[in-house]
């Protein structure tokens, strides 16, 4: 039986062998054919030689989370044949380079050999070309097997090499070699098929970091300071790319500056200095960088300096799994720095939201005069996601918050940097150079009074700290709201989640509902938590929290901040570093429910009532 537009293809490659661009072209072809697709790049912390995988899920129903079980394995790395083979489903296909023929110890699969290396050797002399074109030859053969619309693939190759037109012909030639071999030698009853579909809305395929870097451009950020670290690097690079694309004048002068700092301490210091001086500035990093930045985060919190910090999370602790995904910096970010500190967090769930929230993050940081930590992760940041086209409201003006101009200062009798004039805990700030005689103040991390003067009066310091608390308590109206959706049937079982696990949750909830489990869900999008989350918790008696870390950090944060009993939550935890699958959630949920008679009864009752 042929599976159409619903399967998983996995490429097993050797890092640095030029496979990445061919793999991406394959995924993009599927995307262009209008079929929902989600590629995941599973790569080692290595530049050349170690195994790397590219897993593509194709799903006509639009489920884009990862899925276990591989239907077609393109095994190009002999190092990993054995383990890769185990992932193949019964009746699945194994495609390998049969230049050296092999036997594989599984009877229940189909093995297809394509002598890629020998075709290459026959047609190319240069070893590097042999290597690169091998990937394209493979692509050609796959296009025949999967019955891919070849015009789409050819079009892509032309676009890919638009800037190096000399390469178009040789690539098309290699593609033809692969196609020819497949047409002449391979059986046509291959059981997996890609068929053109019509997209419901206009889609793009983009990575979260790319979208965030672009978002910073639209937000009017002018200074970016960063230190390279996976998986955040591509964000700063995207910003720089768009900076040159959109903000350079005819003389080549640029309305913005990007500095690759000597370390993360310096990166955040620069971003703070620039924000203090009235520019919109950000830095991007991952867990180890945030640890280094934490002293400065306390300064920005206490001296009330806006800042946008992108934390593209990866597997921790320590250097951990630098090329794998996790949501394990929740607590260290929420309470980053010593003393009583709290930080604003944003939780995007896909690249589209990365764009939107990046634009908003600068408004929030300036409105609240405090750091905003953007909690993305490797899965969102570095994988290609198919999302709706990005949009931007041209009428939206930057919210620079409470900044006094020279005119404002002239009309004001008394001004204090930390005076709470409006009762919302947010004071007025001034930018250096604004006024010849008014509005200067001394920014400091030492205890200060409402006029920014140094004080060791504990009472005054306490008052100031309480004002900052007030500011945070009232902050939620500026933050992205939680999004909740109730199950079709009335239930008091609720699932709390956030970030990149979203597609897996959506899919899992559909499956569970088919099996008779009704679940209300809520997606957290920011911290401090909003009323919507509070209500959700009080309205649901059986609450699950899904997160990708060992210590149930979000559960702890919710219990601590909303002062609710931590024991009412059941954790579903995953921290193996891979993007989550719906199956994992379904299995975990069911096994937790199995041990909880109360929930089973509830589920059944709601069903009979409905």
């Amino acid at each position: 039986m042929t599976k159409v537009n619903d399967f998983v293809i996995k490429f097993a490659n050797v890092n640095g062998s030029g496979s990445a661009s061919a793999n991406l072209m394959f995924a993009k072809t599927i995307f262009r054919m209008g079929i929902p697709v989600s590629p995941k790049n599973i790569f080692p912390s290595n530049i050349q030689g170690l195994p790397t995988w590219y897993e593509i899920r194709v799903n006509k129903d639009g489920y884009i989370a990862r899925r276990d079980g591989v239907d077609c394995l393109i095994a190009l790395n002999p190092q990993t044949y054995q383990s890769d083979l185990k992932e193949l489903v019964k009746g699945g296909y194994l495609i390998y380079d049969s230049t050296m023929e092999r036997k594989f110890p599984r009877k229940d699969i189909n093995v297809i050999g394509i002598p890629m290396a020998s075709i290459c050797a026959e047609h190319y002399d240069d070893p590097r070309q042999r290597q690169l074109f091998k990937n394209i030859i493979c692509l050609g053969a796959l296009s025949v097997l999967f019955k891919i619309d070849i015009s789409v693939l050819k079009g892509l190759i032309k676009e890919e090499f638009q800037k190096k037109p000399k390469l178009i012909e040789p690539n098309l030639h290699a593609l033809g070699l692969g196609r020819k071999y497949a047409q002449e030698n391979l059986s046509s009853d291959f059981g997996l098929q890609l068929k053109l579909m019509k997209q419901k809305s206009k889609k793009i395929m983009i990575q979260g970091n790319e979208a965030s870097g672009l978002g910073c451009i639209f937000a009017g950020a002018t200074v970016a300071s960063w230190y390279p670290i996976t998986p955040s690097t591509s964000l700063a690079e995207a910003f720089e790319k768009y900076l040159h694309m959109f903000r350079s004048d005819s003389k080549g002068n640029i309305k913005g500056a990007v500095v690759q700092a000597e370390d993360e301490l310096s990166a955040i210091g620069m971003a703070i200095g620039a924000n203090w001086n009235g520019a919109r500035a950000f830095t991007a990093t991952s867990g180890p960088g945030v640890s280094l930045m934490s002293e400065f985060l306390g300064l920005a919190y206490f001296a009330e300096i806006p800042l946008v910090l992108f934390n593209i999370q990866r597997g921790g602790p320590s250097t951990g799994m630098p090329t794998r995904t996790q949501q394990s910096d929740i607590l260290s970010s929420a309470y980053a720095s010593h003393g009583d500190t709290t930080q604003i967090l944003l939780f995007p769930s896909d690249p589209k939201e990365c764009f939107e929230m990046s634009v908003d993050a600068f408004d929030i940081a300036e409105r609240l005069q405090t750091p905003v930590i953007f909690m993305s992760d490797l899965d969102i940041g570095m994988n290609d996601w198919v999302v709706d086209e990005l949009t931007y409201d041209d009428k939206h003006n930057f919210d620079r918050g409470k900044v006094l101009s020279a005119k404002d200062l002239d009309s004001i009798e008394m001004w204090g940097r930390y005076l709470d004039i409006d009762g919302d805990g947010i004071p007025y700030r001034t930018i250096p150079g604004t006024h010849p005689s008014k509005g200067s103040f001394f920014t400091r991390g030492t205890s200060h009074d409402a006029f920014a003067g140094y004080t060791e009066d504990g009472r005054i310091n306490a008052e100031n700290l309480l004002r900052i608390t007030k500011k945070f308590n009232k902050s939620t109206k500026y933050l992205p709201k939680s999004i909740r959706r109730n199950a079709k049937n009335k239930t008091d079982v609720g699932l709390i989640y956030f970030g990149s696990t979203t597609p897996a949750v959506d899919e899992a909830i559909d499956y569970l509902s088919e099996e008779g489990y009704d679940i209300n869900k809520i997606r957290i999008r920011s911290f401090p938590f909003d009323k919507t989350l509070e209500n959700f918790i009080s309205e649901n008696d059986h609450l699950f929290i899904l997160e990708q870390n060992r210590d149930a950090q979000m559960k702890f944060l919710i219990s601590n901040e909303l002062e609710v009993d931590i024991n009412q939550f059941v954790s579903i935890l995953n921290f193996d570093g891979s993007p989550l699958t719906a199956k994992f959630i379904v299995d975990e949920f069911k096994s937790k429910v199995k041990n909880n008679k109360k929930i089973i009864a509830k589920v059944k009752k709601s069903r009979t009532a409905a």
Binding site: Y242, K255, G256, A261, G269, A274, D394, F398, P432, T443
Partner: protein
Amino acid sequence: MSFIKKPNARHPNLPKNKLGLTRRDYEGALSTLCAGCGHDSVSSAIIEACFQLSIPAHRLAKLSGIGCSSKTPTYFLNKSHGFNSVHGRMPSVATGANLANRDLYYLGVSGDGDTASIGLGQFCHIMRRRLNMVYICENNGTYGLTKGQFSATNDKESKSRKGVDNMFESIDLAALAIQLGAGFVARSFSGDKDQLIPLIRAALSYKGFAFIDVISPCVTFNNHAQSTKSYEYFREHNEAVGFLDVIPENEEISVNYAEGKSIEVNVHDGSKMLLHKLNKSYDPGSRRKAIGKINDSRDKGEIITGLIYLDQNEEDLHDTLLTTEKPLNQLKKKDLSPGLKKLRQVNKSFS
């Protein structure tokens, strides 16, 4: 604590600068440093230099790290915005501030602990980038604020107040600065106003990274006979290489020094820097010779002061990065946000 009484009443006969301001207008809060602390003299010299140059105080931002020295920005230029950041990290904050607005003066004050230990990395890198700023290190060879531990600039032959030997090699910040790309490198002494004020003036007029290592004795923890950063030691071991004048734009230059002994340097803002050489053979334009000079005098047990190195090629980070002329913090949405039409093009490239 030293409370210097400052009467509030304005004296009508106080001398005024081009902006019509008096020295008072450049002062800051009362110092809370120990009486006799070298750092207070540096603050006075900064006040005097800014007064003489008629710098509008609000066009200058003063930044510092943490330490007794880093506290001093409170004690000068009340009308300037100030930023007392975290220990050793003033360079990064100054870099960000400067990127945001290239039109202001940036004056950083730091200590030897702040600069040569915890902040050594940032200090090195800010020089590589040639940030346009004046960086003054108030160097007392000790950690004043944490009560007298050795710092990394403390000379090997120096002893602590209690007679304990310093076991480690010292870092010469001026030599390091020359090595790493600072364009203006000077050394002076907090007690020598005649030399220090013109140096600060020249540094403020220079475009690029200007570093002044000011030996500034800590009277409380490092001013004893066996310390090489004491008033006494300095006076006995100083060798000045030259002194400076800064001639503002449109003013005539009258040189009273024998030819061959003075160097005239054009400064980007139209003013001129005049360097009067005491030592005829000394050439501040050569990196190699400047570093050699520092090493030679060190071997002789001397401390050279004055302008040690000057790169006449005035260039800063903005020139390297090609940032637009208009300060980044003054750009508006229309300059910055590409708008929906451009976003559609981006969408297209990902479809």
